[in-house]
Point group: C2
């Protein structure tokens, strides 16, 4: 696996027009977990596939991910991402729209550089398009939910599957594809991505309330501040009595209340209904599914250790 | 060639989420010249290629074109397109960003439905990605030029080649690709697209000043109002004496002057330096190149008539 920062610099450093590539490089060079590239490589390595093709696909998915971040940050009016100003905050909305567009197109170009046989390139490219589509749909549902009267837990889970988990699935399956994995294993890798992605997002929802800010690296409580109805909120509503539910609903409607006071009041109800445990149980359920999916991958058990370690890490994620 | 409106309705009518697909369908159903789909079909038919594959590629390029319109309209703060409110005006910027994103991804999915052999699908998909990239770069240069002190005619021509002509080239070459055209013809089709695209854009620049509004179907003078330094302005500057050049520069800096008075003053100078004739000569030069490109396509002369007619139409375009 190549060093992604160096790789991105090589691709973008001297490209023209400068005003298009500067925000792209700024976004890609921000420190992040690089989870999606890791998933591509883990899957490819399971089937002894490494080298440039894996780097190409890994970079493409990291670009796709960052494209969604740039455009979502405009839509969410987010000013800070990973401790730095967002692209639209730093350069304005026009630059953010266009550099996002260019980023997803660059991702496509990366996929078309693959050296493996054309049918596989085509499968990777088609999957990439399908994943991109699901991500857009997921983002639309997320926006729709902001103003929806009622969102069920099932609807929420379907939304995060589209918006987050499908990309995990795309990474893992693509890694398998370029390493010539068999059809059953490809399906297992895809399913693994879906379950892992949902677990990852539920953990993210939980960390927004219960993270240790020093380890988490970003401010907590932003979902509560923005009245975002995440799994934690929806589950808490389900577990609440009538009075608590009414309080939560009121708290998640206000836009004027003091941020700290609101967070404390919400957290008091969350604690009272023990939503932390309920969410952790749901995460565990998806993590269990992940291990079942791994069973269905046709490689020696020893080859499965790295992906199992990653899942354990994500299960215990604190940031 | 299928009826595009019906085709788009079939694809998008019942798709969910509704809020994502409604603005997409609204955009695609607006009456337009459908020039890009025509180019795909003309090239394919020259090599006896027709049917569903041509419809798929034609629809993909129409989608790509409309994706650029939706996002460009946000950047240009354009409120009206083809006589109707633009997407961001009707639904807001967020919807316009996301539906643009979804539209370009849908275009990709269309290409991946192609039934021809995988190597050709791959070539069409790769070309599509390259064209999309050039279009983004062209749009960035266009934005850069708005605030640039000096733009040369050569820089302007390179910009419109990227922003407009590459897509024409992509359409023609893709049409050839799916109909198994030989390599020389494919190159000739690509070059034809470039030259036709530049001629088309120069004609567009000219129509903004000299169109008959009733035939043109939209208001003229918008480039002048927006201080857009099109070919007509740049060429007029070149043909102007010192006093005229100073006047033009001043007129293209103001944002407060009465629209009609400004248009009249600009047009008086344009007429005095005879920029209409100079632009028409430049267009003719590119149209001549188009006919030279057509010579290099390896099909019977009779097969070339439809594309020749289209070029003649575009040469004499009044809307």
């Amino acid at each position: 696996m190549c060093d992604l920062e160096t790789y991105f610099e090589t691709i973008f450093q001297c490209q023209e027009p400068k005003n298009l590539y500067e925000p792209i490089l700024y976004t890609l060079m921000q420190p992040g977990k690089r989870l999606r590239p890791q998933l591509v490589h883990l899957a490819a390595e399971m089937f002894d596939g490494t080298g440039e093709d894996a780097d190409l696909v890994a970079s493409a998915y990291e670009m796709l991910h960052n494209f969604t971040l740039i455009h979502d940050d405009i839509m969410d009016k987010a000013e800070i991402r990973r401790g730095r100003p967002t692209v639209h905050k730093k350069w304005g909305t026009n630059v953010a729209i266009l550099s996002g567009d260019a980023l997803v197109v660059t991702a496509l170009l990366q996929i078309h550089k693959l050296a493996c046989n054309p049918e596989i390139v085509l499968s990777v490219a088609k999957l990439f398009a399908q994943v991109s589509m699901e991500t857009c749909k997921g983002q639309q549902y997320d926006l729709d939910f902001e103003t929806a009267e009622n969102v069920t837990i099932d609807q929420y889970l379907r939304m995060i599957q589209m918006k987050t988990a499908t990309m995990f699935a795309g990474c893992l399956k693509s890694g398998g594809l370029i390493a010539n994995a068999d059809a059953d294993s490809l399906q297992a890798l895809y399913d693994l991505g879906i379950h892992l992605g949902i677990a990852f997002q539920l953990a993210d929802d939980l960390l927004d309330v219960y993270a240790d800010t020093e380890i988490f690296g970003k401010a907590i409580g932003s979902d509560i501040k923005d009245n975002k109805k995440t799994f934690v909120y929806l589950k808490a509503m389900e577990l609440s009595d009538k009075k608590q539910a009414h309080q939560l609903q009121t708290l998640f409607s206000t836009t004027t209340m003091d941020e700290t006071a609101k967070f404390q009041e919400v957290k008091t109800i969350f604690d009272a209904v023990n939503v932390k445990q309920a969410t952790e149980e749901k995460i565990s359920l998806y993590i269990d599914k992940c291990f079942e999916d791994i069973e269905r991958i046709h490689v020696d058990e020893t080859k499965k250790s790295p992906v199992k370690s990653l899942i354990q890490q994500l299960k215990n994620r604190s940031k």
